[in-house]
Symmetry: D2
Subunit: 369 residues, 4 copies
Amino acid sequence: MSSVIDQNIKVSIFGESHSPQIGVVMDNLPAGLPIDMDRVLAFMARRAPQAASYSTARREADVPQVVSGLFEGHTTGTPLCALIANTDTRSKDYEEMRAKARPGHADFTGFLRYHGQNDYRGGGHFSGRLTAPLCFAGAVALQALEGLGVTVGAHILSLGGVWDNAFDPVDISAKELRAVSGAEFPVTVSPVKLKMLEAVEEARKDKNSLGGTIECCAVGVRPGLGSPMFDGLENVISRIVFGIPAVKGIEFGSGFDCAGMTGREHNDPFYMDENGMVKTKTNNHGGILGGISSGMPLIFRVAVKPTPSIASEQDTVDFVGGKDEKIAITGRHDPCVVPRAVPCVEAALALGLLDAYLAPRPTLEEERR
Amino acid sequence: MSSVIDQNIKVSIFGESHSPQIGVVMDNLPAGLPIDMDRVLAFMARRAPQAASYSTARREADVPQVVSGLFEGHTTGTPLCALIANTDTRSKDYEEMRAKARPGHADFTGFLRYHGQNDYRGGGHFSGRLTAPLCFAGAVALQALEGLGVTVGAHILSLGGVWDNAFDPVDISAKELRAVSGAEFPVTVSPVKLKMLEAVEEARKDKNSLGGTIECCAVGVRPGLGSPMFDGLENVISRIVFGIPAVKGIEFGSGFDCAGMTGREHNDPFYMDENGMVKTKTNNHGGILGGISSGMPLIFRVAVKPTPSIASEQDTVDFVGGKDEKIAITGRHDPCVVPRAVPCVEAALALGLLDAYLAPRPTLEEERR
Amino acid sequence: MSSVIDQNIKVSIFGESHSPQIGVVMDNLPAGLPIDMDRVLAFMARRAPQAASYSTARREADVPQVVSGLFEGHTTGTPLCALIANTDTRSKDYEEMRAKARPGHADFTGFLRYHGQNDYRGGGHFSGRLTAPLCFAGAVALQALEGLGVTVGAHILSLGGVWDNAFDPVDISAKELRAVSGAEFPVTVSPVKLKMLEAVEEARKDKNSLGGTIECCAVGVRPGLGSPMFDGLENVISRIVFGIPAVKGIEFGSGFDCAGMTGREHNDPFYMDENGMVKTKTNNHGGILGGISSGMPLIFRVAVKPTPSIASEQDTVDFVGGKDEKIAITGRHDPCVVPRAVPCVEAALALGLLDAYLAPRPTLEEERR
Amino acid sequence: MSSVIDQNIKVSIFGESHSPQIGVVMDNLPAGLPIDMDRVLAFMARRAPQAASYSTARREADVPQVVSGLFEGHTTGTPLCALIANTDTRSKDYEEMRAKARPGHADFTGFLRYHGQNDYRGGGHFSGRLTAPLCFAGAVALQALEGLGVTVGAHILSLGGVWDNAFDPVDISAKELRAVSGAEFPVTVSPVKLKMLEAVEEARKDKNSLGGTIECCAVGVRPGLGSPMFDGLENVISRIVFGIPAVKGIEFGSGFDCAGMTGREHNDPFYMDENGMVKTKTNNHGGILGGISSGMPLIFRVAVKPTPSIASEQDTVDFVGGKDEKIAITGRHDPCVVPRAVPCVEAALALGLLDAYLAPRPTLEEERR
């Protein structure tokens, strides 16, 4: 089930970097969700290659065509399929990849996995281009969640060593999340943007690339969502997030910092707020305890590696010929994928949360009414 | 599917902290695996509560009884079930938990999730005790992997701010992994052990607890194992690892450090070694590219939060009565679960890897012979 | 996932005919279901070997021990595991089976499937004894369904050529279903019982065995339950029903008779009843249209083959030695399994229906409240 | 997972009768399968509406466009997606269906299931048109199976009370299967065709429709394929077969006839054939014992109900208005879908068998080499 999210919601992604179309099928979507296609497009545009220095020169309109599952503006409840055309493909750029492994890419491992039968052009099914259908699916999930009062947002926490301010894990609001998500370059503090863009530009000139971290948050999640053990929110979210190429790590709440803390520091004391809701004073648990939402902001961070496609010469091998080689990657690539990965991470979270909302009912009480 | 690993191998874990028995069913195990029960017991003993200052005073023999799926010393291929008795349960220790949330625990979220019907005693199904059947399953998977030339090992990378040396991600050998895994207190550098134990003892005296990080590695994994997108090695391993209570983060290879690196630094150059095998000079990719094993050591780290059960008084709520409360946890608890979590992490990796080996065949060539 | 029902409810069955215990884990059960263990026992007793001429001489108390997932008489929502002891095992009866295939049994195919590693004693995991945990799971599901107003019942429709009256597919009531299900020998017309028992006794004396058909029905099923294509009620129910050994066919509503009917005869005309409910005048559709319940009685029939274990001599092979052989089965066996298969079919239906009730919500409206 | 086959092979079908396109994604296909598109087209043409009296007047070219997963004529191993255009849609034919239930159709149950949000035009996702992508997937699976020496074929066993000769369950050959499958109107005995066509023509003139039975067989299946309990060949095949609209029953081997047989008659005696292969003299078991293939021809039959769309007036309801109504179906429909259902049944079997071939390996021996 390599390209299928097969939880309660089934999301099947298909296509290759150079196939005529790529796309996604969403099965088990609830019926009757109004889908605003303009907002889907706006969300996908955040991931699409842009006319910015940090982005690949490849241009794709990335207008999804919904071919099923949508009727009179609402989901039907039967499978929703969307297609996205690949138009600006230059296959000859990639002839060299048939046998030469680009360092940091899956050319060699893909060759082994598929016994040399995979479409190697532009990375084939391993291409970051496949995050376009993921973002489409995420955009649909986000609109479903919005109807439940859930708001999702993410920002670039660091890029090439430049750090943005972290979200306030206790007091972050839906409004702030919407503001940062809606920005063209999602950071919480304006001056940071300039420094980050400078770092990217410098890397580009140096035929190099940069990595970064993304922080993602959801507020308004119903407490009591998720499950213990292997189907908890961390399990499901991390499984989807690692489907985004270039992600090397994920941490929830305090994350790796917890390792240096004591229990007294780390435990989040509970209290009753003025509305009689159970809250915690701090949020080291990141809104999840025992795999289940607590009602506090759900918060996690992911590490995104520097784009492996760099223009400077690198050592590699010809894995067919079995000999050492040199490679310099001349295709069109982003010197930093972190900005475009932000909506991908939001999409992954949205799909994980929607899945939790669609889980088998905790009791049969609703059915008894 | 809260407590089911439902990949190619199906692992269903059941039981509560105070149920008469806990256990696990493994379905889709290959037939004909010789299982050495002494080694299973030795592996599980590493997780069991020990007569050490860092461990809970609860004593459980933790001798699993295999009730099916094993015949004449080999797996039958039909479901293997193992039971572990809960003997030393003191339910009255936990009466208070019916309505009072222990900070850092799932008492409150579990109450919401299960509408107050869950067994709250000792954390019920959320208890760390459920890692005993996980370790049983992992011990079986480890023996299966051993037959394929795969060796798995982990150590305490940090504990309460004291750091062990990291594994060498390029040159770590099966022998070293076996040595560190076999140790009673798994660190690579001896003096570190003493410092860590001192830190734990200090925390215990202070009615406090400590967190840490665990580094885990596998060598001998066949290159070409895994899949792109949602069924890759990172996806499957992280999903299982977050099934271990107290884990707050996971990172593969360079992990979060990748965010501060450039592509030139981070990309691992390929080369042909003297045996004509494709290798990389560095191993920032942690043995996984595009979700698929490269043949280099598979390496990852997890963050383990400090034990939430601490003896000092904490603020909390009575979530039934809806009022603020104080709590001091008087049960028997580990001041640091990191040492006992080490085999759990190995078990999670072993189950994830065995799953990848059991994935649908990449081609039908074998069937054609 | 050979022995796992992995729909919304996960049911993992384990054990062999001669293992110390057999059992089942039910994951994703709703929380808060009151479970009446006396009624579970009464249901399981219908499947258990009985002191009747048509039944095996093997005696098993078949008292399930619930080891998890039940607290203060209610399901907790976390995995429920039940164990059943195998006490009256006579392994030496089966030594011959190591290499000799009993005609009509899975000795040979099981040997191939598991490369000779399976536990061959008494059929191992293929034994009809594994329907005991299936019936336990079904008994739990039946109590859950009862709380939703659903009643399930089945009877022996035919046995050795003797036919009972079929259910009235339009007017069958919950009361009638309960009456027939509760009977020791479930037929709708009393005199039929005597004739069937005579036929069985005759077969037994002749060292032979008999097959039959079972008709099963559910009333009170909420209309709108199920799904099109591969997750419809027929798909899910048939998948579970074929998990009962000896079942060779299943048909819903008019079943195979539909092949000889015209559309005008077969179509069930809709009408509004006095309560404003949509009903059909006939019920050839068996309560399911497009995989989804219509509100009419859900009705299906299964074919059960004659017990393959017969005392008279049969031709067979020694599949290890590779030569023709003779076999006469001297173990303890039922001359007809149909009566004991009746609760198994009810259990299968109950699990299939409960699964449909636990499917992801059709809309998110409930969540919006 | 309503429209997903989620076994080892994942098949996700999407589209509605009047959506611009319908299609299918196949995930987990083996890499390197040569796909002959001409033969795929020839297979799909058997299902497509034809210029014959028994077929709907709707005309669709049904030329699938493969958009991913196929490279240089071979499967890549990554998801294969095929699209089929809906061109000849006359939506206004169906306006009446918004609230009027066509007897025998899923209009009413679909309305309930999807809370009135489903696309009702032409039956939407419930339309028989969705068997086109199923047949595409089956055509791919058939080519994969052919490479393993497996041949699949089916014929019309009965239609409107006219019976063809059944396959010889012991001696049926691959050659015979190919011959009958390749025929335009698949029956084994020529004169039967004429009688069947007469019956259809008579029904058409009478504004009526006919049902029938289809017999399907596979030879060359490797013995030892499948699993006990819920993942056996009967379970998996029946689950897929009931995904074909109009199927009301399925029986394997002797099927419902077994109910009237004795064990002595029904048991298939084993013997060693001249090549040292284990065979059975009869084949009441239909090539499957304990869910696992025996090496004998795999054989089953399905019942197909008469087309519910008939031109004569029928009683029904307006389920929105809540009142009784009349309906006469004026759209374009087949007076008998049985001939077109034949390739659908073959496709279902092929997908079920390919799934079994892709199951987790029974042992790890192959990996050890």
